[in-house]
Structure formats: C-alpha cells, structure tokens
C-alpha cells in the first residue's frame, strides 16, 4: 500500500503572534526572504530549504522541529 504523500506543516503564524505579534514583513527581513515567501510558507504553499528553516527557527529562538513538522511518508 503506498504511503501517504509526505507533508511539512509549520507554526510560523502562531509563533509570530507569540513574539509580540511580529509582522510578516519583520520576520521576512530577519530571515532574509521576501514577505511573499513568508505568506507562501504560512499558507502551506512552499516547503523551505533547510537553511531557511533554520534561519526562521533562529528568529523565534526555537529549535527547528518546534517551527516545522514532518508528517507521513515513512523512510524505508
């Protein structure tokens, strides 16, 4: 039976609000990307590179697995 399509979800929106209602613009600036990329991430339309995932996690001062979650698609 084929494994379900792997998916990466994130808690960026919640973390922004927990960090003094940080704006997307502000987060984008600190992570070194455009606001459109933050919007795409929050909407689940884009999976970031490892580098960007770590940079975003660093902005929130949290480990990367608290910002991003991997679902499904077990490795063989």
């Amino acid at each position: 039976m084929p494994s379900p399509e792997p998916e990466i979800t994130n808690h960026i929106r919640r973390l922004r609000f927990e960090h003094g209602e940080m704006t997307q613009e502000n987060l984008a600036e600190q992570a070194g990307v455009t606001r459109h990329t933050i919007m795409a991430l929050e909407a689940g339309k884009y999976f970031p590179s490892l580098l960007l995932a770590f940079r975003i996690a660093r902005v929130f001062g949290a480990p990367v697995e608290q910002v991003f979650e991997y679902h499904g698609g077990e490795a063989k």
Binding site: T34, K45, S49
Partner: protein, 136 residues
C-alpha cells in the same frame, strides 16, 4: 504582488501588444519585410529590468530563484517543442531533401517569435507558480 509577478504580468501585456500590433500590421500592410518592425515592442520587456526599482529594491530569495528557474525551463521547453514541431512540419510538407529559400526578414521574424514564445511561457509559468504555490 511581488516584483517577479509584476514582471510576469508586464511581459504578458507586452506579448499581447506584439500579437495585436502584428495582426494590425498584417491586416493593413500585408505580410512583408515591414512587419518585423512591431517586434521592436519586445524591447519593452527590458523596461522593468532597467528600472531603478530593479537595481535598488528588488529582492530575489530562494523561492523566487526556484520559480524563476522553473519558469526558464518551461520557456526553453516550449521553444524546443516549437522547434521540433516546425522541423517535423517542414519534413511532412517538403520532405527531408527539400531546400528552403527563406528571405532574411522572415528568418528574423521567426527568431523574434521564438523569443516572444520563450518570454510568454516564462511569464505565464512565473504567475502560475506564484499563484498555485510551489514546493521545492
């Protein structure tokens, strides 16, 4: 709207203008050496790149790089298909041994259309990937 999306819409607008201008030119003047002059409009696609905003304010992050790269691939893919299609069409109509005599202006016009196709597909792909989301 991001700068890349704006570039996409701008380029599609220029392509539409080229098609309309070309159609009007052919309708009023006929198909001749003067028609490729409408392709001077192609120069407009360079306008966003040469604007001050491009040099001072445009940001290109990893997602935009990936989208731009996919869009370029799609553009060149379309160009390749068109080239193969054209060669096959010539083969079916004229045969492999045929000799083609093409006026320089028609050859030039074909090249312009190739550039127009490349830019149109690149712009369209950019817009679609931005709208629909793009997963690396």
């Amino acid at each position: 709207m991001s700068d890349s999306e704006k570039w996409g819409w701008w380029t599609l607008g220029v392509v539409a203008l080229i098609v309309a201008a070309y159609g009007a030119f052919v309708a009023f003047l006929g198909h001749g050496p003067a028609t490729p002059s409408v392709f001077a409009l192609l120069a407009l696609t360079a306008l966003p790149a040469s604007s001050r905003r491009y040099f001072t304010g445009r940001r290109f992050d990893e997602r935009e790089h990936q989208i731009a790269s996919k869009a370029k691939q799609a553009g060149f893919g379309a160009l390749w298909l068109a080239f193969v299609g054209l060669i096959m069409a010539i083969y079916f109509i004229k045969g492999w041994d045929a000799t083609l005599t093409v006026p320089v202006w028609e050859f030039m016009e074909t090249l312009w259309w190739a550039v127009t196709l490349l830019l149109a597909v690149e712009a369209l792909t950019t817009i679609v990937l931005y709208r629909g989301g793009y997963h690396a």
